[in-house]
Each structure stands twice: as C-alpha cells, then as structure tokens.
Amino acid sequence: MSQQKRKPIFWLLGKSGAYAVLILGLVATLLPFFYIMVSSLKTEAELRKTPPDFFPAAPTLKHYEAILTDTRIPLARNLANSVFVSLSRVVITLFTSSFAGFIFAKYHFKGKNLAFGLILVQIMIPFQVVMIPNYLLVVKLGMIDSLLALIIPAMVDAYGIFMMKQFIEAMPTELMDAARIDGSSEFGIYWRIILPQLGPPLASLGIFTFMGTWNDYLWPLIVLTSPENRTIPLLLVWFQTQHVSNQGLVLAASILTLLPIFLVYIFLQRWIVDQATQSAFK
C-alpha cells in the first residue's frame, strides 16, 4: 500500500494498533455474554466457589434441562403468547401503515394536511406519557390481563405510516391509472400494484415491530397479571425472583431468552444494521 493511500488513522496507531482497539471493543462487547454462557454450564457448587473459576471444570447442561422439563413453568404457553402478540402486531401494523401511507401518498382530498399533521404529532408522543390513560382505557374496555391489551391499543403505528408514505410517494402513478382503466377498484390498486412493490420497507418495519414487541416489558408488566398470560420478558423476570438462590437456572434462562433472536440475527445482521442506520435519519 502506497503512502498516499494509507488510511489516516493508521498513521497514529499503526494498522495493528487500530485492530487492537477494535478487538478490545469486541472483547468488551462479548465478554458479558460469554461469561454468562460459560457460567450457565457450571454446577451450583462451582458457581458458589470463591474465588471463582472462569471456566467450568465439567460443563453441564442440567440447568437447561431443568428449565425445559419443568412443568411448573408455563414456558410453552408464554412462548406462544409472545409469538402470537408479536406476529399479530407485525401483520396489523404492516397493513395499517402501508394502507394509510398509500392514501396519504396517492390521493388528494380536503383536510389531508391536517390529518397527516395529526399523525406527525403521534410520532412525538412518547409511550410513557399515555401509559396511565391507556391503562385506564384498557380497564374500561375490559381487556386487563388479556393479550388483546397488548394488540388492540397498538394497531396503528404513526412512524410506520410516515415511512410508508415516503416510499409510496416515489412510486409512479401511471401503473395505477392503467389499472383503473382496466376496471380495478381502488383497494385493488393498493393490493395488487402498491403492496407487491413494498417488500423492503415492509420487511424493515416488520422486523423492528417484531423485535420491539418481543422485548417489550413495561406495558405487559402493567396490563398482564396471570402467569399463563405472561410474555417471555415477564416470565424471565418472574423466574429470576423465584430462583434467587439458584443462579445457574437464572443464567440458563437468560441465555435461552437471548438465543432465538441471536440465531435470527446471524442470518440477517447486515440487513438489520443497515435498516437501523437508515431509520435514524428518517
């Protein structure tokens, strides 16, 4: 590599210095995960040992076994709750966002700017502010301790509408007009012409809605009470309070919670990071 082309930062640190910093950051990022994963393979006696060893002498999967076979933990039920709520919210949000985005992008009518202004206002309202009235509303609607309380108040995503409108505005109108001449209904235009072109933004909105719902904790904590209605984050917190003295179980449970998202992430990491970067600027 010629002197001219050398990257500037290498002048200060040298190439190996740059990598040293990056690897230090890598270790700092991964060490907590790794520490917990390794510790979850220790026996209870090893976990209590002082000073502790970093690696287990004889790794064991018994904590994982204990969790997965314990019939007192409504694991399957809670997992199903999380899947049901997350998928419902993804499907509903994708539909309402793209459909409303389509109307705002491609139709002219009185009051459009006012209506869109109201949607922009929603983006600025943080959840914490409407948390108390939303709770009172859910009580009035009789949805307390029901999974519906996680879905019904979250069917329209203002940010999603905003994002979809931007994408649909860039699409040519000629195809729509051609479809109208061929006798297509207005909804048919949305369903057969607009929606098939929305793959990438729908995927992006879908994955973030899914992860947001999957990891959501505060709202489920407020509205859900019975054990069988819990979602995975609530189950993990409950499990932790139940097994304060049995660390291995709690560690294994944390790893089990992290694992599914990690597996998805391995395949989609490049795309997820790119989407997250872009959404910060919209």
């Binding site: 500037p8 930062i9 950051g25 990022t29 109201l118 929603q122 600025m124 051609a178 990690f262 970067t277």
Partner: protein, 329 residues
C-alpha cells in the same frame, strides 16, 4: 387517451373518477383516524387533564372519565406539590428529576467518546472485517433488555462477580458492593449510578456507532485527502476535519441519545430498583411506581408524566429541526 390526461382536463368523467377516489380516501382514512383519536390523541389529552385532578380509579367520580365528585379538580396543586411540596412522592420525584438529568448528562458524552473514535477506526478497515465488527458491536442493542440486566447483575455481583475479579487481576481494590452502597461516591456521583451508566452505554452504543460509520462513508474522500496532503496527522484530521463535517450527525445522535436516555426503564427497575437510597430513582420509574405499584393519586403521576413529556417534546422539536436542515459539504 389515458386516465391521467382525462383527470388533468377535469372532464365530467374525470370529475366522477376524482369523486370516487375522494370517497375511497375518506372511507379508508376515517376509521384509522378515529382509532388514532381514541388510542393516541384522546389519551394524551386525558393525561393532561388528569394532571389537574386528584384522581384514584376506585373513587366515585362523574360520568366524564370519573373526574369530579370524589376525584376533585385541584388546579395546579399537583404541579406545585411536585416542585415545592413535602409529600414523599414529590420528594422522591425531585430526586428522580436530578438523577434523570445526571444519567443523561453522563450517558451522552460517554457514548460519543466511545462511538466517535471507534467509528473512525472501524471505517478505516477492510469492508468484510468491518461488517463482522459492526454486527458484533450492534449485538447488545437487539438483545432482550431483561436478559442483559440479569447479565449485568452477575457482572456487578460483589466479591465473585466478573468485574470484581477483573479489578483484582489488574491490582485494583474492587468496591465491596457495586450497586447497593449509598456511601460509595466518586466525584460526588453515586457508584450505583455509574454502574447503571456503564451497563446502559454498553447496551446502547451500537446505534450511534453504525450511524457514525454510515455518516463517515458519506464524507467526500477528497476532503480528508486534502487535509492529509496539507500534513494533518490522524488526530488533527479527526478533530479539524471529521468532527466538523459530522457536526450535524453528532448533534442529531446526541439528541436521539438524550431522548432515549430519558426513557430508560428496565435497567433502573430491575438492576438497582431505584436504590440505594433513591440514588438511581428516575422520573419514569417514579411515574410507574406511583401509578401502578403504590396506586397513589394518579393525577400526581399524570402530572409527573406531563413534566417528562415537555422535556422530551422540546428535544424532539430540536431533532425534527435538525432533520429538516439541508446540509452540504
């Protein structure tokens, strides 16, 4: 003749078509707007109104949202109580406001001090390796925050926890208790708060990192090359070329980080539970505890959430303005 040119001429046929489209637009949008009215606009107004009442759901009120009757209108009393009163919730809330600002004031610079230099280094390496590093740095941000809190409670475990072990390894004396000693202060800042800041920045730095890497890629190479040809060293290039060119992105990232720092909940509720002695009590935790754990006067909690809202709103307006400014190198 295409439908488009018909529409442009405003012929009768086109007029009918337009009317049909308008009807479709209204019919589609009205349910969505009504829905948003019920679940977003109405609650925000409700929260605002609630802040002027002394309200508990179990007390008998009027037909209108249960306000009035045994849930009387108290004017600005809730706000006066929060800022000047002697009640326990108000006292804790004032501490919480200070802590929330302290937390934000620590998180933002620490985050930038890590992500800015790291992004410059990351941007300078080979593309394939870069993708791998970027993906791993981003890992904590996509993880379940509950699991991360459990991880950090083990990192901070007194005595045998990993951090204590690392401290001993490098010859430092670890604190007896990382999260529970109210007398452990460093430069006047409670140790527990420092620990929460570290854990939070660890969990959150990936966002700003990938944002900065993307922004760096959009800086014209010629500008950086020109600085180098003029004899700037790496630090000068970073400080006098990169940082000014990224100033808008840095500002935007700072505002976004501030907004998200004000809304952190899980780590405060589960790692430190606001303790020791309210040293890590935050505004959001106060709102939650008063409204849902102690089931106090919800009017007071609503007033707290309006105060938090106004702070976030101001920052959001700044954010929107930043996004709207056109920028040219």
């Amino acid at each position: 003749m295409t439908a488009l040119s018909v529409l442009k001429k405003g012929a009768t046929y086109g007029g009918k078509l337009m009317a049909k489209q308008r009807r479709f637009a209204y019919a589609s949008l009205v349910p969505i707007l009504i829905y948003m009215g019920v679940f977003s606009l109405f609650p925000i107004l409700w929260a605002f109104v609630l802040g002027f009442f002394s309200y508990t759901p179990i007390r008998e009120g009027s037909w209108f949202l249960g306000l009035g009757g045994q849930n009387p209108f108290v004017g600005l009393d809730n706000y006066i109580e929060l800022f000047f009163g002697n009640g326990k919730p108000a006292e804790v809330f004032r501490i919480a406001m200070g802590n929330t600002f302290l937390f934000t004031a620590m998180v933002v610079p620490l985050n930038l001090a890590i992500t800015l230099p790291l992004s410059v280094i990351l941007e300078s390496i080979n593309d394939k390796v870069k993708t791998v590093f970027r993906a791993i740095y981003f890992l904590p941000t996509i993880s379940s925050s509950i699991a991360l809190v459990i991880i950090w409670s083990y990192m901070y475990a007194p005595g045998w926890g990993l951090l204590s072990q690392i401290f001993k390894l490098v010859g430092l004396v670890p604190p007896k208790s990382w999260l529970q000693d109210p007398n452990a202060l460093y430069m006047g800042i409670p140790l527990a708060m420092i620990c929460v800041v570290v854990a939070h920045v660890w969990q959150d730095f990936g966002y700003n990192l990938v944002i900065f890497v993307a922004a760096l890629q959009s800086i014209p190479k010629t500008l950086r090359e020109a600085a180098r040809i003029d004899g700037a060293n790496a630090f000068q290039e970073f400080w006098y070329v990169i940082v000014p060119l990224l100033s808008r992105t840095i500002l935007l990232a700072s505002v976004l980080t501030m907004i998200s720092s004000l809304q952190v909940f899980v780590i405060f509720q589960l790692l430190t539970r606001g303790g020791p002695k309210n040293q890590t009590q935050t505004m959001l935790l106060s709102i939650y505890e008063n409204a849902f754990r102690f089931a106090n006067n919800l009017g007071l909690s609503a007033a707290m959430s309006m105060i938090l809202f106004i702070i976030i709103l101001v920052l959001t307006v700044v954010q929107f303005r930043l996004l709207r400014t056109e920028w040219e190198y």
